[in-house]
């Protein structure tokens, strides 16, 4: 497994020994929860101080295209709380975060960052969700097929394609698809103005826009599910219980479906949640290519501002989501793996 995992970016699964500690389930869950809370606190601290490293003054930036006198600047600093000591600022920021208040945007005047993120969240969830579901389904299916017919033409071809797609920068694949389909699909946004009214026409319009971004994300991410599923199933191929199953007279595909695959599924399933961070990063670039109005596009736009409160908010929300997904993966692993459950 390390063979395939080592080929790609992104986090690898933690040592199995660490997971199989002899502690009880409750202690395990509590420890994981505590670790996740610690990580979340670290995310907010990092998110705060990272954006205070900025050499320039945000107020000077905000006032750059309007004539502003010294009083107005002082007022602005006071309104944003920039005149207070840094620890006080952090305290206010942290308290605001707990209430779901992420501050105010520089670029979109008088908009709450939390609102901006809230309205951009669903397009990203739609894009990432549909791409992940498809990538998992296709990746697992191909991985099972490839491992079962190891070293066949199908296996070699699929592994080669997957490894090549791994090396492809996502945004480039998106650009290629744009040029290759040549106007067959909309190149930007999520809605067209000329789409008809009514729920059905609107959904169809969104789906039409979704095709290319989703395909781009899918093409890079299915590869890793496929490679992990393949090597995981290869590890089970010579197990004695498969010989037993065959000796009972089961057909080949029954052996595969009922015995081999359920045992090999575990690493791939946890990978789905472990890789959430990589998927999020992919979504940022793909949304930038297709102007998909999600969090990635918001990140891209605010990077060019630079709109620091928005960047900070997106950073905290995205990394927080990744930390939670990883917690979920750890707990899920515990539930799914019979060996861990018994321990």
């Amino acid at each position: 497994m390390s063979q395939t995992l080592a080929t790609g970016p992104g986090p690898d699964l933690a040592d199995p020994d660490e997971r199989r500690g002899g502690t009880g389930t409750l202690r395990f869950v509590l420890r994981k929860l505590a670790e996740a809370v610690a990580s979340l606190v670290l995310v907010t601290v990092l998110g705060f101080f990272l954006f205070r490293m900025l050499p320039g003054d945000p107020v000077a930036f905000m006032a750059r295209d309007r004539p502003t006198d010294r009083d107005q600047i002082a007022q602005l600093r006071e309104r944003l709380g920039l005149d207070r000591p840094i620890l006080v600022q952090f305290g206010k920021y942290f308290a605001g975060l707990l209430r779901g208040d992420l501050g105010e945007s520089y670029m979109y005047r008088n908009r709450e960052v939390a609102d901006l993120i809230g309205e951009r969240l669903w397009p990203t969830v739609l894009l990432v969700g549909s791409a992940t579901v498809l990538a998992v389904a296709i990746g697992l299916w191909l991985g099972i097929r490839a491992a079962w017919k190891r070293d066949s033409f199908f296996d070699r071809a699929q592994t080669g394609i997957a490894l090549t797609l791994w090396s492809v920068p996502q945004f480039w694949l998106g650009l290629l698809l744009l040029v290759a389909t040549n106007g067959l699909f909309p190149s930007r946004g999520m809605h067209s103005p000329d789409a008809g009214p009514g729920f059905f026409a609107q959904s169809l319009d969104v789906l039409h826009h979704l095709v290319l971004p989703c395909l781009t994300l899918l093409a890079v991410f299915y590869a890793q599910y496929m490679l992990v599923m393949r090597s995981s199933l290869l590890g089970e191929m010579n197990a004695d219980y498969l010989t037993t199953a065959r000796a009972k007279g089961l057909r080949d595909d029954q052996v595969r479906r009922r015995h081999a695959v359920p045992n090999a599924l575990l690493p791939a399933v946890t990978l789905v949640f472990m890789q959430f961070g990589a998927v999020v990063a992919g979504a940022v670039t793909v949304e930038a290519v297709f102007s998909w109005p999600g969090l990635g596009q918001l990140t891209y736009d605010s990077l060019h501002g630079p709109d620091l409160p928005v960047l900070q908010g997106v950073f905290v929300v995205l990394t927080g989501a990744v930390v939670l997904m990883n917690l979920f993966a750890e707990l899920l692993y515990r539930v799914l793996d019979p060996r861990v459950r018994a321990a």
């Binding site: 080929t7 990580s39 490293m53 090396s167 920068p169 480039w172 290629l176 990394t319 990744v322 990883n326």
Partner: protein, 304 residues
């Protein structure tokens, strides 16, 4: 190998064994066809990139001296067409290799350095130092590194070195984990205990015993990291973090999108830099996987 003559100093013996080990590793590596091909192509690419000022004229990269028509399709004069400024895409792609490789290598050196130091420290010192470093590593491991890199480059000044720093400080956790695991296995061996009993301090154990032991795996890991760093560099340049006037593959793709070359279907602005990225990354991946097969004891005996 055991027949060291009495006149040889211990250090000379150690070096002779190391040389023999490297030769053995090279032989095993060279038996893997894909890895060898990747290695040769890689050496060729790096040599060409380094020697480029001697064999090619840089003046064609200057916007003011561009001679072609904007977005001219490939023809006899510009084999890969022209970009939106009328510059030769072929020339830009070849020159782009320099910056892309430089950023890839620098970011990798930075990240492998951080990863090795933290990995060795986490394994060697144990106790609360190790616990804190491990939590820290795990924390960075799950962070979406691109988002962190974007955040970093927003607060630093845009430019090539910002990209290097942004990749370097986000890409190290994988290396740290690998180095820590390897250090643990090395430090559990009796000769470390012997060295400690003879009075070897932390520095002696780390420099004389641990570092040579982890170096091969770090090398294999490094080649894999470079591939990822090249992709990360292209992605960050594409997002507009780098210097917009520099010639790199990511910047070329960025200008292809922002200048409308993509929407006008100018595929010759798109394919060359992208294919260059993919082939360089593939080369590094092939070499890295080959090295890993040879050097990682867990993969020994498996078929590549």
């Amino acid at each position: 190998m055991t027949a060291g003559t009495a006149a040889e100093s211990p250090r000379a013996i150690a070096w002779r064994r190391r040389r023999a080990g490297i030769a053995r590793t090279w032989h095993e590596f060279a038996t893997q066809k894909a890895a060898l091909i990747g290695f040769c192509l890689l050496v060729l690419t790096v040599l060409v990139a380094v020697a480029l000022p001697l064999i090619s004229d840089q003046s064609g990269l200057d916007v003011t001296q561009a001679t072609g028509k904007p977005l001219a399709p490939p023809d006899g004069r510009f084999w890969l067409g022209a970009d939106v400024e009328g510059r030769s895409v072929l020339l830009m792609t070849v020159w782009g290799a320099r910056l892309s490789l430089l950023v890839g290598f620098s970011a990798t050196v930075l990240s492998v350095l951080i990863g090795t130091v933290i990995g060795i420290a986490a394994a060697h010192f144990g106790g609360w130092v190790s616990a804190i470093l491990l939590r820290f590593t795990d924390f960075f491991l799950v962070l979406p590194s691109l988002v962190l890199a974007i955040a970093l480059s927003a607060v630093l000044r845009p430019g090539v070195w910002t990209i290097v720093v942004a990749i370097g400080v986000t890409a190290w956790p994988g290396t740290a984990r690998l180095v820590r695991a390897q250090t643990l296995t090395i430090e559990s061996r009796p000769y470390i205990e012997r060295s400690r009993a003879l009075g070897g301090g932390h520095l002696h154990v780390i420099a004389r015993h641990v570092l040579p032991g982890v170096a091969p795996l770090v090398l294999a890991n490094t080649t894999l990291v470079v591939g990822n760093a090249v992709i990360a560099d292209a992605t960050l340049s594409f997002l507009g973090v780098g210097d917009p006037n520099s010639i790199s593959w990511g910047a070329m793709l960025q200008s292809a999108l922002s200048s409308g070359a993509v929407t006008r279907g100018a595929w010759w602005n798109l394919l060359p830099p992208g294919i260059a990225i993919v082939s360089v990354v593939l080369m590094f991946t092939l070499v890295g996987r080959g090295l890993e097969t040879v050097l990682n004891p867990r993969l020994k005996g498996r078929r590549p």
